[in-house]
Amino acid sequence: MTVGMINANPVVHERPERAAHPHAANALDPLDVFDTVRDIKDPEHPYSLEQLSVLSEESVSVDEKLGRIQITFTPTVQHCSMATVIGLCLRLKLMQNFPPHFKIDIKVAPGSLANEESVNKQLNDKERVAAALENPNLRQLVDECLCSNF
């Protein structure tokens, strides 16, 4: 799809050590959500979203009572056209791993992207997400990102 790389030289951070689950209670917490998405591969580079600091534990918030999960991610560069793909990956992964009654909001961190508003709108529009996932090329890209294991 893209010829050149959008961000050829991203800053790669060291993967922090994963301690045994520090959460004691059995209720759903942000770390649960973060654990499911941290290892998604970046569409461009062989690194996980966590390594590229696209996601962090702080960027996830969960309200179990209202059934809401909110994720804010930060694309590596201002003009990252991969933001929508990343968002799509996040949505699909969360849809697979959490009960359907959860409402999932995916947003780009404010100020991190040039066309922030349109991307946000696109990512939270059911029909457009469904349509995107029907596009075979896009679907393949998303699946590749999801089934990586770091």
Binding site: E17, H23, N26, L28, D32, Q96, F98, P100
Partner: protein, 1144 residues
């Protein structure tokens, strides 16, 4: 010898020579030909003469294939006897072929095969080996070959050097040149491993006189040094026959092969020691350690100074590094660092031991007078309030202490030097700070300054420990050391008092809250110091008997009074235990007496339950720990425990609170002390005397009803069982006799009269007093632990007695009966003409009738419509309770019989089955009774107990009838019982219509299935699967059955793993999946939900055509589980969902 016709084997040759055939066919034809030759169906001569064309043709491709074939065949017949002619012809051929570079492969294979043959089955002669080597060196250019051929070359050279050393004697420099040439620039890891080995062997082949090794050392080492340190990143998965560790150790052996490498190797290693790569450091230390051992003192002394400086640099982390290694977390870096320091210390130890022997003083001066060391020690000693600063750098301090102690431990002389140099000053400075501390305490108690210099304390203790090591090594020379003026002994002796005083003060003032953070370090150090002082060998102990006693007293007083300080308490206890075991190690009789007096007796004074304020569990722990130091101590501990139990029992009538204390003591005795003693030697005398004393007490105790309070009776019973179980037959006889006498003198008259004759079926059971019951319970515990060979006095009376109490619903009586029948049935020595069988029959008869009679009576009572309803139901409930008890007692007898494989177990199981299905008979009896609620509920409770009875029969028990209590256990009895009962249950379940009946049947069925061996259940899978699944579905309704549901689910998952079980499940996949989806939301037990999900994951491996229809159902169930309360279930659900979603 039957030869095979040409037509059969020649095609194999052709197949091999034909390059266009696939490799599999090539190897198959080699195998076929080799098999023919091995079986003598084809002679080598025939083979070679037929192959002549292939071996000599000018087409080098065909020729090389031909030679390779011959070589490969030779490899495969390495165990076949060959005559001298054949061998010499073959070697002639292959040696000549070495010059044929186009067909070299076959020649190499053939030569290697020839060289590897064992002497006994005909091997190549030395002259030929020499010629082979010559031809090899002249013709083969190793580095121009492919890796596989190079490997063969190295193997050939290794083989010659290893097995024919005499053949290379004459080849000297030619060989060494050849080898240098061969290994130069080698890069393949497998070849490298071989070539390192080659160097090692060849350098060892040419020792000093020839001078060759010396001559070539620099050249060879130049080649080797390029590989150091080994950089090799391939993992395990790369299918290489070499790892980094292999390569590194091969290279190390090559380095160590000859002392002539010393001028080159040591500088290289020392240079690499300053490398920034942790791996290079580690390797250098390892190599250095080995080289010091191999090169010899003389050569190494030259490098002493350099080595010391480098090691110092590493140990004290003087060089700034580690920042380069970015990979890995800070934890890894830390770990690496520690590893490096400890390796460096080992290396230093080696260096001191090996190099110290020639010029000890020089080495000592080098280290002891080293500026850094001296400065370090000074700065540690002079630091004021140095607690924080020296703790900030514990690694430095640790390294310093280790260096000092390694040096001091190496010999008496160096120990003396070290102590002379520093010890007195350190102790003095400690004393000064201790003095200032007491001033502090006096003036302002809240002062936050830490009074004692930790670093100094640590170093002093470290030196003490070295003194102890030295003393241990030179035990024989102690008098000489003591008398010598220049020795560590007087220095130690002079300072000993102040040290002890100091350590003691640390133990006593530690509750200062202001420096509690660092207190632990101090306390550990102080306890360690005391431990070291107390464990000097007796003849050179610096402590006088009095001081020794003081030290022990100090530690003991910590145990008895400072239990609120857990850290100190545990340390002291550990120290005392090690002191105790060291006494035994040195056979120090004098000390043992003191130890017994001061430590063991004091700690184990347990008579008074509330004598001290120390918590009971700590007292017991201290007792046990001190006892573990040695059997002698444990015996004392046991005695005092025993004494405490007995005295407290005798006082229990006066003081009810003693009961709890006795229960705890007994628990410790049986749970910890007995098993320990049991592993360490004979304990049965002890057990006998304790059991006898207990019986003396029971005589008095039983009169009061205190015995039943707070679990005293049950803990006494458990203790008695274990004690009896340990004793030998003769001892058991004594105990039984005693118990029997006690019982028979104390039982009430009415009970006694009952036991004179077997119970008649219709006789009613008299009421018994509490004290009779307790006595019988105690007697039963003796019987449970008894061995089958021990004769029982008046067995008939005992059986009658127990039978009476069984009918009163006493389970212990049932245990005793079960043990008797399990151990004594058909034992001609004790029972005459099946008398026991008859008794058993009567008892069973009586039990059956009691149970059925009371249900009849109940019917009668309820149908009579008695006026006094309250009275009626009260009596009824009483009957039901005892009926259930009798039923469970019956199941224990059944277990006893089942374990020994007696036929009568059938009667019991049939009766139990009848109880399970009695509903139907009642239904048919009269519709009128159905209206009565009591009727239904009594059936349910009876049937439930009957179902649980199967659990008792099938499961293993801690209480009675196990290996510890000498039960007779027939192999595979569970399996047999399972296969007998299964068909009956299946048909009963099929027949039964009422839901209640079905439920109890399912429960009994579940108990049997889940306790039977899994393989046995799986072989029956096709019959029981449906019933099992159905019972899972039904039992999951009731929370009481949750354990049963789980164990049945485990069986089901076991079936999923088995091939046969899998087939079965596939046939009924709809039903199985249906039930599992229910269990995915099983509310009562998390692990059931988890296991059900795991079952789904396992099912995803089934053939796709069979399971794709289930996909939607399973996915729906897992989606529900995504919302589970527990995290583990949710995670399992995600996994399950992914697996099932992936095959759309």
């Amino acid at each position: 010898m039957a030869k095979v016709p040409l037509g059969q084997w020649v095609p194999h040759v052709e197949a091999f020579v034909d390059v266009s055939r696939p490799p599999a066919q090539h190897s198959a034809s080699v195998d076929a030909l080799a098999a023919l030759v091995n079986k003598d169906k084809l002679t080598l001569f025939d083979l070679v003469s037929k192959m002549e064309m292939y071996l000599t043709t000018t087409d080098h491709i065909v020729r090389s294939r031909g030679i390779l074939l011959l070589g490969e065949i030779l490899c495969q017949i390495s165990f076949k006897q060959l005559d001298v002619n054949a061998i010499s012809t073959l070697s002639e051929f292959f040696i000549s072929r070495l010059s044929d570079w186009q067909a070299l492969r076959g020649a190499l294979v053939g030569c290697l095969a020839l060289l590897r043959r064992k002497q006994s089955i005909g091997s190549i002669i030395i002259a030929d080996v020499e010629r082979l080597l010559e031809s090899f060196l002249r013709n083969v250019q190793v580095q121009s070959l492919a890796p596989a051929d190079r490997k063969l070359c190295f193997q050939i050279l290794n083989c010659i050097l290893d097995q024919y050393p005499e053949a290379v004697k004459t080849k000297g420099d030619e060989l060494l040149y050849g080898i240098c040439e061969a290994i130069d620039e080698e890069k393949d890891p497998e070849c490298l491993k071989l070539s390192f080995h080659l160097v090692e062997v060849v350098m060892k082949q040419f020792p000093d006189p020839s001078g060759l090794a010396e001559q070539f050392a620099s050249e060879v080492f130049e080649i080797l040094s390029k590989y150091y340190p080994i950089y090799f990143t391939h993992g395990v998965g790369d299918e290489l026959d070499a790892t980094r560790d292999d390569l590194s150790s091969a290279l190390m052996h090559a380095f160590c092969s000859t002392p002539y490498f010393e001028p080159f190797a040591i500088p290289l290693l020392l240079d690499k020691l300053s490398s920034s790569l942790p791996l290079a450091k580690l390797d250098s230390l390892k190599y250095l350690d080995n080289c010091i051992r191999c090169y010899g003192t003389e050569r190494m002394v030259r490098h002493a100074t350099a080595i010391w400086f480098k090691l110092k640099e590493v140990m004290f982390s003087l060089s700034i590094d580690q920042s380069l290694s970015t990979s890995g977390s800070s934890k890894d870096v830390e770990k690496n660092k520690n590893q490096i320091v400890s390796k460096a210390l080992t290396c230093l130890r080696t260096a001191i031991t090996y190099m110290g022997s020639s010029d000890e003083d020089r080495l000592i001066n080098l280290i002891l007078l080293d500026e850094d060391i001296v400065n370090n020690i000074h700065s540690v000693a002079s630091e004021e309030n140095s607690v924080l600063t020296s703790l900030q750098n514990p690694i430095q301090l640790h390294a310093l202490g280790s260096v000092i102690s390694i040096l001091a431990e190496s010999s008496t002389h160096s120990c003396t030097r070290v102590l002379q140099a520093h010890f007195t000053r350190l102790v003095d400075s400690l004393e000064i700070s201790a003095g200032s501390k007491s001033r502090h305490l006096n003036t302002c108690s809240g002062s936050s300054t830490a009074p004692i210099n930790y670093g100094t304390l640590y170093l002093s203790v470290q030196m003490l420990s070295s003194c102890r090591e030295v003393a241990l090594v030179s035990q024989e020379n102690i008098p000489a050391i003591k008398s010598a003026e220049e020795s560590w002994w007087p220095i130690l002796e002079k300072n000993i008092d102040s040290i002890i005083h100091l350590l003691q003060s640390l133990l006593t003032i530690d509750s200062q809250s202001a420096w509690s953070a660092v207190r632990q370090e101090y306390v550990s150090c102080a306890v360690k110091g005391l431990l070291i002082l107390a464990t000097f060998p007796e003849q050179c102990s610096p402590l006088s008997a009095n001081t020794y006693e003081d030290v022990l007293l100090m530690l003991t007083s910590v145990i008895t009074s400072k239990y609120e300080n857990v850290h100190l308490w545990r340390l002291s206890l550990k120290a005392l235990t090690s002191i105790g075991s060291s006494i035994l190690e040195f056979h120090a009789s004098q000390k043992e007496i003191i130890y017994n007096k001061v430590v063991v007796d004091k700690i184990s004074s347990l008579h008074e339950p509330y004598g001290t304020s120390m918590p009971l569990n700590l007292r017991l722990e201290a007792n046990f720990e001190v006892g573990t130091a040695g059997p002698n101590y444990m015996l004392r501990v046991v005695k005092s425990l025993e004494e405490a139990v007995v005295t407290n029992i005798s006082e229990v009538n006066a003081r009810i609170e003693n009961v709890d204390y006795i229960v705890n003591l007994l628990e410790c005795y049986c749970g910890q002390v007995l098993p320990w003693l049991f592993t360490s030697g004979d304990v049965n005398e002890l057990a006998l005397s304790f059991a006898m004393r207990l019986w003396n007490e029971i005589r008095d105790l039983a009169i009061s009803d205190r015995i039943r309070s707070q679990g005293l009776l049950s803990s006494l019973m458990m203790g008695m069982k274990l004690l009896v179980g340990i004793c030998t037959e003769e001892q058991q006889l004594l105990i039984v006799q005693k118990a029997y006498d006690t019982i028979s003198s104390m039982l009430s008259r009415s009970v006694k009269s009952m036991t004179q004759h077997p119970l008649a079926v219709d006789e009613s059971v008299p009421l018994c007093s509490i004290h009779d019951t307790s006595l019988v319970c105690m007697l039963s515990s003796v019987i449970v632990g008894i061995r089958p060979q021990t004769p029982l006095p008046d067995m008939k009376m005992m059986i009658n007695l127990f039978a009476v109490f069984l009918l009163k619903g006493q389970i212990p009586a049932a245990h005793a009966l079960a043990s008797i029948f399990n151990k004594y049935l058909q034992n001609s020595e004790f029972s005459h003409e099946n008398e026991l069988d008859k008794l058993l029959g009567t008892i069973l008869e009586r039990c059956f009738s009691t149970i059925s009679y009371s249900s009849d009576m109940k019917i009668a009572l309820s149908s009579a419509g008695t006026t006094d309803d309250a009275y009626c139901s009260e009596r009824l409930s009483g009957i039901i309770v005892s009926k259930n008890d009798i039923l469970s007692g019956l199941s224990w007898i059944g277990k006893g019989l089942l374990m020994r494989g007696n036929e009568k177990v059938k009667d019991i199981s049939l009766f139990l089955l009848k109880c399970l299905c009695s509903d139907q008979s009642l239904v048919g009896f009269s519709p009128h009774q159905q209206e009565h609620g009591t009727n239904d509920s009594s059936y349910v409770s009876l049937a439930t107990s009957a179902a649980d009875a199967f659990h008792v029969m099938m499961s293993d028990s801690e209480v009675c009838l196990n290996k510890k209590f000498h039960a007779r256990i027939k192999p595979l009895y569970k399996q047999r019982f399972f296969s007998i009962l299964m068909p009956i249950f299946l048909s009963k379940i099929k027949e039964s219509t009422a839901m209640t009946t079905k439920l109890v049947l399912y429960r009994a069925f579940g108990h049997i299935v889940s306790n039977a061996p899994v393989p046995a259940v799986i072989t029956e899978a096709h019959q029981i699967l449906l019933v099992m699944v159905d019972s899972l579905a039904k039992l999951s309704m009731d929370i009481k059955d949750k354990d049963l549901v789980y164990s049945m689910l485990l069986i089901l998952s076991g079936m999923l793993m088995d091939e046969k079980g899998k087939e079965c499940i596939l046939e009924n996949i709809h039903i199985v999946v249906g039930v599992l989806t229910q269990l995915v939301s099983y509310p009562h037990m998390m692990i059931v939900r988890e296991t059900a999900l795991q079952c789904f994951v396992a099912m995803s491996n089934f053939p796709h055509s069979k399971i794709y229809r289930m996909r939607a159902q399973i996915l729906q169930a897992t989606i529900r589980a995504l919302d589970d309360k527990k995290r583990t279930v949710r995670q399992e659900a995600v996994l399950c969902r992914q697996t099932w979603q992936s095959f759309a």
